[in-house]
Symmetry: C2
Subunit: 285 residues, 2 copies
């Protein structure tokens, strides 16, 4: 089956899916999204993604959209496409209104619910190659807005940070607060390991509560490893024994250089690999 789009209940070709230029998603970035991977023709953690989308919608005071509705539409759409290894992109925007800054009166009917489903591409195969070798990252000042816990389409700072990384001939950028706190990468969470102890930024307004992040935390706890969810600095990141990014498409990505400094022995670490193996089992089970 081909790659497809979904627009408010209709399934159509991606090239044929359009929204009004006065959609608030287009004029105000007033939209939330999710990206859900599939393995062997089954979506992974679709319920958790839907839950997070409903959280995002609530935070932005959208009209109430039920988890059941989103879940059913997503699954109908996914089953129509029948792609084995794919990523589903879901976006809900507030809809079409005459342009005014204040939130328009809640009208459920106006919400735009769009999806696309696409095959995993060459870029993602490239990702597999990088996962084996480990990647290099740089740190950048976090210039994003104050509610990164909400998965909105206000992604320019993320986009520019990713491009800054590519310009510096590394794979990704990690956002650092003014105080030097390590937050997350341009579209992934980050974990570090020092002397067998694992650290990651706690859930606050400044990071996304990643679905894969939660999965990794579960894995860490089941393995009886020590996890500290607390603030840590870029200095600690650079001095880590291991470091890795996590995300729905990223999965687990070992980091072997930060700002030109080698992490550990410069190859993906043992604990990172163990954790990734356990994640793989979950993804494909």
């Amino acid at each position: 089956m081909p790659e497809l789009a979904y627009l408010n209940g209709k399934v159509l070709a991606i090239q044929e899916a359009f929204v009004s230029i006065e959609d608030r998603g287009y004029q105000f970035g007033d939209a939330v999204y999710e990206v859900i991977p599939s393995y062997n023709g089954k979506m992974f953690k679709d319920k958790e993604h839907i839950e997070r989308m409903v959280y995002s919608l609530k935070q932005l005071r959208f009209p109430e959209v039920s988890e059941e509705y989103l879940y059913n539409e997503l699954n109908l759409f996914f089953n129509k496409a029948k792609l084995k290894r794919a990523s589903v992109y879901m976006q809900v925007s507030r809809g079409v209104y005459k342009r005014k800054h204040y939130l328009p009166d809640i009208e459920k009917a106006k919400i735009q619910f769009v999806m696309t489903i696409r095959n995993i591409t060459k870029d993602d195969v490239e990702t597999d190659r990088k996962r084996k070798k480990g990647i290099s990252v740089i740190t950048v000042n976090d210039a994003r807005w104050g509610r990164c816990d909400i998965k909105t389409v206000q992604l320019l700072a993320n986009s520019l940070a990713k491009q800054t990384a590519l310009d510096a001939r590394v794979e990704d950028a990690v956002f650092i607060s003014e105080e030097g706190i390590v937050r997350e990468a341009s579209s992934a969470n980050i974990f570090i390991i020092k002397n067998g102890i694992i650290f990651t930024h706690p859930k606050t307004f400044n990071i996304l509560s990643g679905v894969t992040r939660s999965e990794i935390i579960e894995i860490i706890k089941k393995k009886n490893l020590t996890l500290i969810e607390d603030f840590y600095t870029d200095r600690k990141l650079i001095n880590a024994d291991e470091a890795f990014l996590t995300g729905s498409i990223t999965e687990v990505m070992p980091v072997i250089f930060v700002n030109g400094n080698q992490i550990g022995t410069g190859v993906p670490g043992k604990i990172t690999k163990d954790i990734y193996d356990l994640l793989c089992k979950r993804m494909t089970s």
Copy 2:
């Protein structure tokens, strides 16, 4: 003539203007915009708006779009609509690409250039009424991203701040930095007056360099009033003799209450009125 839309060179009804769901403006907030008012069938400061749009595009590394091109398209479109008192909304987004965080290879052909022109509405007549009486505002923490000098569509923080103001039964919200520095309102710059001296936030990444702000500064200088473009706190705002917002649609809006504290005598101040009269002469000349 009716209200109209413009889409990549074509003029059409606003209801018929659509963009792809994979436009980066929709998926990443990767777009810039301008709003230009007209008086007596003539646009005010259209060249300055175009200059700022080109600045925004450059900052975001868009393909080069010339001022001449934007200016000519804008004027052709405006002349087609022949609306006397209108606002023109212009937006340029990076265009349609398969969704990836990094900036796609520069392709001028893919840029989407959209415009709408609309009559001044009842809301704006309401604005005139408020202008005579003065408005109340609240201060809110500035949760916007770090490049508010670029006029992007990443406006959720602005939108939510405006709504917070309306919920508090006041007209607008003024963004304050963590250190208590007064930045600007949800879609307008802010000036205060104390003992005959006028203060406004300097041009930095944290405020928009308003076209009306520049015009007001010119007026202040011509009147030989003292202007200090420097940081000042919310405490100073509350203790001001006069305060006013400026913007292309806002024009000059006197502020008479801040967080429930009366500014000056609780009516629009004399200097504010003088400045607004001079702006009006420029707008309609």
